[in-house]
């Protein structure tokens, strides 16, 4: 046998789009030497629906049901961002009632919680451990039950609109939500046992997928990835929106910047989220309108302008760049999802040297959400 060159030894492997380990419908084209990746390219577009184009031909109110579809596990940040940016450009933000702001904060935090429950399970699911994900998906389902009760739908809530929210909290909502939170809290130690105290997870997560600190500014990284490096950066505290400024909240941080650190980060944030939801429920006013008086939504036009509004999704900073031109439609909207950087540039940078078996876990820990990359 003749000696093979390094290039000849490389195997090209498509990971996805149809693969149980891939996060959503996307693909990674990887080149391997043995079972180690030498390089890789992210391929997206399998979920491209052209939201930004579709919103250019929809009236403002018609744009609002569509945006939540941009991220399936956590649709609500999108709803809020669209509402907030249009409110800012139209001047409606001054009229959003106090109670609506509290409900929105609650809504956003519930959404973060449900998303983090799902992704925490994903961390171990990607390593082939099925118990914790099944528990956590069920726990998330309890939050979805509350969403269903509050908004009328389980996944796509379409609840936050311009000027407030669409409905008031139902009777007894806070008590039922509290019961769910207690259920989640009671299960979390069990979850810890099978995730953070699992030899399999520790071995495969500690020291794997380390993101160097220099990349933060170079790549514009945000969210849990940055906080897992020990840098306290959180849109909710840095740019307090809605009622986050009135809550007792400190950005959570962990150190190590590896998969374990990011998983632990999420575990801490689940606890933080539960605490925040309790704070919100305690501080929320019970009386008052939940929506501002809206103009006729079929003919509503707003002045020309440009803005960028950001919020903290469970994956990092999500932002909407909105341009209006004085008509009844959005001129241009650009959805800046955290996965755009995390799932393409950062992932591609992390791939060389990674074991093929860890790739799935790495993607989960970066919380790559393909629909927000391609939209």
């Amino acid at each position: 046998m003749t000696e093979q060159t390094a290039l000849e030894r490389r195997v090209q492997l498509w990971f996805g789009p149809q693969h149980p380990g891939i996060t959503g419908n996307m693909a990674v084209q990887a080149w391997l030497e043995g079972d180690t990746l030498t390089s890789g390219v992210t391929h997206v577009g399998y979920l491209h629906r052209g939201f930004e184009k579709l919103m250019e031909r929809r009236k403002f109110i018609q744009s609002f049901p569509i945006v939540c579809r941009i991220c399936v596990p956590e649709p609500d940040t999108n709803e809020w961002l669209l509402a907030a940016s249009i409110e800012e450009l139209s001047g409606l933000d001054k009229e959003v009632p106090e109670k609506a702001r509290w409900i929105r904060t609650l809504f956003l935090e519930m959404s973060r919680l449900s998303s983090m429950l799902m992704v925490l399970g994903g961390h171990v699911g990607a390593m082939g451990l099925g118990t914790a994900p099944n528990w956590l998906i069920t726990l998330r389902d309890y939050i979805l039950d509350r969403f269903e009760e509050l908004t009328g739908a389980r996944v796509y809530h379409m609840y936050v609109t311009y000027g407030g929210v669409r409905r008031d909290l139902p009777e007894g909502f806070a008590e039922r939500l509290e019961a769910n939170l207690q259920e989640i809290e009671s299960k979390l130690p069990l979850v810890d046992n099978v995730i953070f105290d699992s030899a399999v997870f520790r071995k495969r997560a500690i020291g794997v997928g380390v993101v160097p600190e220099e990349w933060v500014d170079e790549l514009g990284l945000t969210g849990p990835i940055v906080r897992a490096m020990g840098i306290a950066r959180d849109t909710r505290t840095d740019y307090p929106y809605e009622k986050y400024g009135e809550l007792d909240i400190e950005p959570m941080t962990t150190t190590g910047s590896d998969i374990f650190a990011r998983a632990w980060m999420r575990r801490l944030e689940i606890a933080q989220s539960i605490d925040l939801i309790r704070q919100i429920l305690a501080k929320m006013p019970t009386e008052g309108p939940y929506s501002a008086k809206l103009p006729n939504m079929l003919t509503w036009t707003i002045p020309a302008g440009e803005t960028y509004v950001r919020a903290e999704a469970s994956r990092g900073e999500m932002g909407y760049y909105v341009v209006t031109d004085g008509s009844d439609k959005i001129r241009r909207v650009h959805v800046r999802g955290p996965s755009y950087v995390h799932g393409v540039t950062l992932l591609e940078r992390l791939m060389p040297g990674t074991n093929i078996a860890d790739l799935s876990a790495l993607m989960v820990s970066l919380q790559v959400c393909p629909p927000e990359i391609e939209r």
């Binding site: 744009s63 049901p65 739908a153 046992n193 008086k293 103009p295 006729n296 939504m297 079929l298």
Partner: protein
Amino acid sequence: MSLKYTIAPFSAWLQAVSKPFTVPVTGGPRPGAPRYRGWHINDVEKCIGCGTCSAICQNEAIDMVPVDDPVVGDSGLRPKIDYGRCCWCALCVDVCPSGSLGMSNEYVWADTDADVFRYIPGVDEKPWDDSELGWRREEGFELVDHDRVPMGMLDPDERTQTWAEVVIGYTEEQARVEASRCVDCGLCVAACPAHMHIPDYIGAIRDGDDARAVQIIYDNNAMPEMCGKVCTRRCESVCSIGVQGDPLAIRWLKRYATERFDNLAEVLQPQVERVGEGRTVAVIGGGPSGLTVAYYLAIRGFEVTVHEALPQVGGATFFGIPRYRFPMSSLEKQVDLLKSAGVKFVLNHRVDGDELTRMLAENDAVFMGVGLMKPMALRAPGEDLPGVIPALDMLREQNLGHEVDVGEKVVVVGGGNVAIDASRISRRLGAEVTIAYRRRVVDMPADDEEIEDAEAEGVEIVTQAIPLRVEATEDGKLDFVWGPAEMVQEEEGKRPRPKLIEGVENHLVVDRVIVAIGQGPDLDWLPTEISEKICNKWGYIEVDETGMTAVEGLYAGGDLVNDTADAISAIADGLRAVNGIVDKTRAQHV
């Protein structure tokens, strides 16, 4: 790696003895939350077929399909939902102006055939039709604007001191805001006797194109400035926004647009074929119907002459409407437009029977719109006493600029707009005014706003009052005697009738009793050979669908012909005659 990390995950086994939480499948799927957004339901009785649900749907999932004959206030269309498009956002429910559309909390529907996922909620029977729960419209969250931009008015105290217009009119900004409330459903078009293109001109006002709005308005109404001030606005009574909120101020918007321009001839620029070149038309009566005929025929090349008995054209809108509602300047602007179109006027000239016969021979067509000129009598003893006057006479005298003396105390009998006008004029003349009406305030044919305005100006309204007699008192005053009535529901579905309570008499001593209980036709001047052909047994004139009477070439319209007796119906009659005359002329060309 310590032993702990090897053992800890096995704690999961403890769950084997915990209580299961699996959702059972027996007994059907879990019910959706009380406000779950499931399949649509629709209360078809409540639905007015305005199509706003279809307009707001970003997925074009809602088709409007005809299920019933259209009637005024209901297009007869109903939404049909395509679940191959629906995304359950419930914007259709939240926007629904009638509040009929809702969503059930049912969510299961699986089928092998892709074409079945469409139905008309409320019409096509579905298992979830009677669902109590689900997403419904809720007060406090409106996607359309329910609140009308308030109209500026003179202060009531100030009003009684002046003959100036009470209504101030919208500013440009107010008009744009008000116009933006329209949802473009078109129900108003059906309700308007003249079928004005209401959503179109409102849209033009909203877009800031007032000139286009005026062109659209004049497209089928030659006296819109009058309508913009005093129309009975049946359009507003069917406005879809009005089901749950204030109807659009269609009349005020028309007023706004028409008041923007002084030289109408310059703005309008009609583009019509001059089919009537060389033909002559005589119009008897310069009221709304006659002027409508005159204008639209004149721009088509007809030579039109309007014959008017009074020194000023306008008909009832001239002599019957007080100046504080419809100022002279507005009427003159209208007349100027007609003059610029080439219409000739013969004023102070009452046409008699012989002249009508001659006109029919000399002209290609004659249009008769002489209105109802004979006031109904009080039909109570004392109706002939000198101080008992018909309201129309008083209004005419007032509008002709003659001195009118109503004394210090007046009772006005009737509940229509004329009664309100007479009482408000009497207030301005310094009298104390009481309105006596047979039924309740809700039954009054007069415009609600007018009633409110009258009350604000200090008019007292006595309802369920049946006049018994009028007696002259010794000091030259009149004793108006009336009896109270109770409302009796005689037949289901009909409006209750007032029934006199015997034995009670109330006295009201006044200077004048003004009778405003309606008018009838006054056609005694017609030659018998014509009148027996064209009049029905009540003395009104009958016409065919072209507006023509049984006499060839004699057209008629206005209060004489229709049973609603308002200006916009008269204009509609005029348009019908225009159609008839133009079509006939065209046919003769061929």
